[in-house]
């Protein structure tokens, strides 16, 4: 059987420096033309789009380029008065994913007063199931992503007491696998994105002790490929967003030095598009706000001093987390 490591090769003419101005321009112009095809076709995740762009701008200290009042008014208009949850955009249905994004954006703006936060608490609480898991909306899809959305959202509102935290933790732990990682539900394969969600949940609930930390951190550091980039599962291609999912998890586990920071930085920088601005999943692909945030946040974890410090649990500026007096757990074992 022939076998080759799946990876990419970084070309010599790749970007090697951080193009902050380009990225700020890219995000500032994103969505200015409301008839842009890509923009319209991604309406169903607009709320998260705003979170990605704003957080990226905050990390670059450029958030003044975002239309603050317009965003806040938009978020208010997306709250469903009946359930209390928020939707991705007008006309769409409330969902955990977008409820979290909305709360994160308002927390960064220090404008949580713009929505009915008790309604949000009601919505999130109503999503918890008997076994401690969370569903995404009333249609019943269970996923550890929604557990993370729930505890992050409530902790930002200082209302973690509204749910059964210990059951929420037990459910997440029931998703732990032979390799120490986590999947989307019990029995699901480990995946770096879901590992971030589960480790993040435990970090907020201060139950990091329950992790098999050395096994998990080893699996995570084995995601690094010769190009310096990280993949999300064994035998997969690298993708820039995993520099966030993997590195934030390793940060919470206090083992960020188990990957080669210099090589990873090279890979992240190579994912920039020097013409359009923004970051893409792999060098040479089309850029988008999602990868732009995770590229910048990844660099922040690596200690890049021209980017503000990011909190590994919340993926928000550390200054916001400090202002809210939140102390997600970092493991010291």
């Amino acid at each position: 059987m022939s076998f080759k490591t799946k990876d990419v090769v970084l070309s010599e003419d790749r970007p090697k420096t951080l193009l902050l101005q380009k990225h700020s321009d890219f995000l500032a112009s994103y969505g200015v033309n409301k008839d842009d095809y890509e923009y319209c076709m991604t309406e169903y995740l607009r709320m998260s789009g705003i979170y990605w762009s704003l957080t990226a701008m905050e990390l670059m200290d450029q958030s003044s380029r975002m239309p603050k009042e317009e965003i806040i008014a938009f978020i208010s208009s997306c709250q469903d008065s009946e359930s209390g949850g928020l939707s991705a955009s007008n006309g769409h249905d409330p969902h955990m994913l977008y409820t979290l994004s909305a709360v994160q954006v308002l927390a960064m703006y220090d404008r949580l007063d713009a929505i009915d936060t008790e309604g949000v608490v009601r919505f999130v609480t109503s999503m918890q199931q008997e076994d401690g898991s969370f569903i995404g909306d009333k249609w019943g899809e269970v996923d550890t992503r929604f557990s993370f959305c729930a505890v992050m959202c409530l902790s930002l509102l200082h209302r973690l007491d509204a749910i059964n935290v210990s059951k929420a933790v037990d459910f997440v732990l029931s998703c732990m696998n032979f390799d120490g990682g986590f999947g989307s539900k019990p029995g699901s394969e480990s995946h770096a994105g879901l590992i971030y969600c589960c480790v993040g949940t435990l970090s907020i609930c201060k139950r990091m002790d329950a992790l098999k930390c050395d096994e998990l951190a080893w699996w995570l550091c084995e995601r690094q490929l010769p190009s310096g980039g990280l993949n999300g599962r064994p035998e997969k291609l690298p993708d820039l967003c995993y520099s966030w999912w993997v590195m934030s998890s390793l940060s919470m586990l206090n083992r960020i030095h188990w990957v080669d920071k210099k090589n990873l930085e090279q890979y992240i920088l190579a994912c920039q598009d020097a013409e359009t601005g923004g970051f893409s999943d792999r060098p040479g692909d089309i850029t988008d706000p999602f990868h732009t945030l995770f590229g910048l946040a990844g660099l922040s974890l690596l200690g890049n001093s021209s980017i503000k410090r990011v909190n590994p649990t919340y993926c928000m500026p550390q200054e916001t987390i400090d202002r809210l007096k939140l102390e997600p757990q970092i493991l010291y074992v």
């Binding site: 059987m1 076998f3 490591t5 008839d35 095809y37 076709m41 169903y44 939707s87 991705a88 006309g91 769409h92 969902h95 909306d137 249609w139 019943g140 899809e141 996923d143 696998n177 032979f178 390799d179 999947g183 989307s184 029995g187 699901s188 394969e189 480990s190 995946h191 201060k206 139950r207 002790d209 329950a210 050395d214 096994e215 080893w218 550091c221 690094q224 310096g228 599962r233 064994p234 035998e235 993708d239 206090n254 083992r255 030095h257 188990w258 080669d260 598009d273 893409s280 999943d281 040479g284 692909d285 089309i286 850029t287 988008d288 999602f290 990868h291 757990q329 970092i330 010291y332 074992v333």
Partner: protein, 531 residues
């Protein structure tokens, strides 16, 4: 946007494409507006299904449209005149999801819709669903959505587990690097052959069989990582029973160190502290301020004099009582230590299998001395078979791995540190000294297991490779009075924990600024800082 390559096109081509897109967009906007208007007017009919279906076939992730369809389907199935028509309705919904999954096999919404249909309709055909999973896993053997869906189907139609187990065997022999199949196999094994006696993850006879399977996979191509992760699981995963490792009583402070984190409830319910045969009452405080900790501090009002009898009683999970007696080390200082052992325990047949595989690995290593996975596996085998006997070779191998697999040098450094500390701890626990100093020539890069050294009064961590990241771990040194951190790689003292130190040596940390030191002194006035 994942995996979309940026293509350079001519201006002309660009303009043509943009025109095409604007046309598409016009249709899209019109359809969305119509759908939302119909929804508002509660028009739950076939037309709504057609409209939403059409949009979803090109964009299956618009979650609200699936919600609308579920609303419509619920109504239509209730008002339908025959079972047959209801069945037809759901069949066509399944066809739609199948179509959408062809466009995007990773569409969460489409998969969930399929689950919803199958659990909502009264006549689900689970066999057909299982066959569908087979087909999809042939197209992409690693799609975790398909695997999840398979597990869902299996949970509903409950085929014999052995069949699922055999399916993983088949998948693995198709391609050894199918990590998803190895993963599923681990779940099946735990269901089929759990080790009820505890200790190993699975029953011994299967353990050996699995190790053999890993070997055939790994030897086919040592660079194929899937099997190696599976092997590490087989070799590790010993269920450690909760054990008290050390207990320290001084007039100022009483602490108890555990081999793993336990909760306040556990400590309250399972620990009794006796002084001269009287139970001491007090409040337990976690050293890290979290709910679970491996070092607990007891606040009590007892007077601690010389020559008193102190012991603790630990009621274990199986109701066995473990008694740890304390010995007076110094005036008014009592320490109790357990027998500790970090060696993994395996049954005789498994050890035999490991030894045979070790030989095979060594042979392979002669042919390919630079293969990381072979060297790492050899090293893990050595450590598992007899950590003490092979310690020197293990550490030498890890040093080589630092070069061979330099991306993960930080991991190997920490592993060297951990295994060196595990090597030293049992002998330190036989001594009556209140002093710690690393006995290995490799410098420490981290401070694992340091709750075991919570009883030490003087701790010499000089001339190691400790960075400021490791400072929070020092919180475990609850009884330390003199701490030597000279000659390390500290850059800041911001994360230095609150300890009742008398002397702290910070000399020769060249990146530590004098401002940092001054700030530290200001904050910790009672500590004599040597700098």
């Amino acid at each position: 946007m994942h995996g979309r390559v940026k293509v350079r096109t001519s201006e002309e081509e660009k303009a043509r494409k943009e025109k095409e897109r604007q046309e598409k967009l016009k249709h899209f906007k019109y359809a969305m507006l119509k759908i939302f208007t119909k929804r508002k007017n509660i028009e739950q009919d076939q037309e709504q299904l057609d409209l939403t279906g059409k949009v979803l076939t090109s964009n299956p992730d618009i979650y609200t449209l699936w919600n609308i369809r579920r609303e419509v389907l619920t109504i239509l199935s209730k008002t339908s005149d025959s079972e047959k028509n209801v069945s037809k309705l759901y069949d066509s919904e399944l066809s739609l999801t199948e179509y959408c999954l062809k466009i995007n096999p990773k569409s969460y919404c489409s998969w969930h819709q399929r689950e919803w249909v199958l659990t909502t309709r009264s006549d689900p055909d689970w066999k057909k669903e299982l066959a569908l999973c087979d087909t999809y896993l042939k197209l992409d053997e690693r799609n975790f959505h398909t695997w999840d869906y398979r597990r869902f189907v299996v949970s509903q139609c409950k085929p014999p587990l052995q069949e699922e187990f055999d399916f993983t065997t088949e998948k693995i022999y198709d391609n050894f690097s199918n990590y998803s199949a190895w993963h599923y196999r681990s779940k099946m094994l735990l269901e089929l052959y759990p080790d009820l006696k505890g200790g190993r993850p699975i029953q011994d006879n299967h353990h050996k069989h699995e190790l053999k399977m890993v070997q055939s996979a790994a030897f086919t191509d040592p660079d194929d990582t899937s099997a190696w992760f599976y092997q590490r699981w087989l070799l590790g995963a010993v269920k450690a029973t909760v054990q008290v490792v050390a207990f320290i009583v001084t007039p100022r402070k009483t602490t108890i160190a555990w081999n793993k984190c336990v909760s306040i409830d556990y400590v309250n319910n399972n620990i009794n502290v006796y002084i001269n045969n009287n139970i001491i009452n007090g409040k337990w405080i976690p050293c890290n301020a979290h709910e679970y900790d491996d070092l607990w501090i007891l606040e009590h009002n007892e007077e601690i004099n010389n020559n008193i009898d102190i012991k603790i009683e630990h009621t274990q999970i199986d109701e066995e009582k473990e008694i740890i007696n304390c010995k007076q080390y110094e005036p008014c200082v009592y320490v109790g230590k357990s027998k500790i052992n970090f060696q993994n325990q395996y049954s005789e047949p498994v050890v035999q299998e490991l030894t045979e595989q070790l030989d095979a690995c060594r042979q392979l290593l002669v042919l390919e001395p630079d293969n990381k996975w072979t060297l790492l596996t050899t090293t893990v085998f050595l450590h598992c078979i007899n950590a003490k006997l092979y310690h020197k070779e293990v550490i030498e191998n890890l040093q080589i791995l630092k070069d061979l697999d330099s991306l993960r040098a930080g991991y190997y450094n920490d592993l060297i540190t951990k295994w060196n500390i595990e090597q030293q701890l049992p002998s330190d626990y036989q001594d009556d000294s209140l002093h710690y100093k690393s006995g290995s020539k490799e410098k420490l890069t981290s401070l694992p297991h340091f709750q075991y050294y919570s009883y030490c009064k003087t701790v010499d961590l000089s001339n190691q490779d400790l960075t400021s990241m490791t400072l929070p771990f020092l919180i475990k040194l609850q009884h330390c009075k003199e701490l030597d951190l000279s000659g390390n790689k500290l850059t800041t003292l911001k994360e230095f924990p609150n300890l009742q130190l008398e002397v702290l040596n910070l000399q020769d940390n060249s990146n530590l600024s004098s401002e940092d030191i001054e700030l530290f002194k200001e904050k910790h006035k009672t500590i004599k800082v040597i700098f």
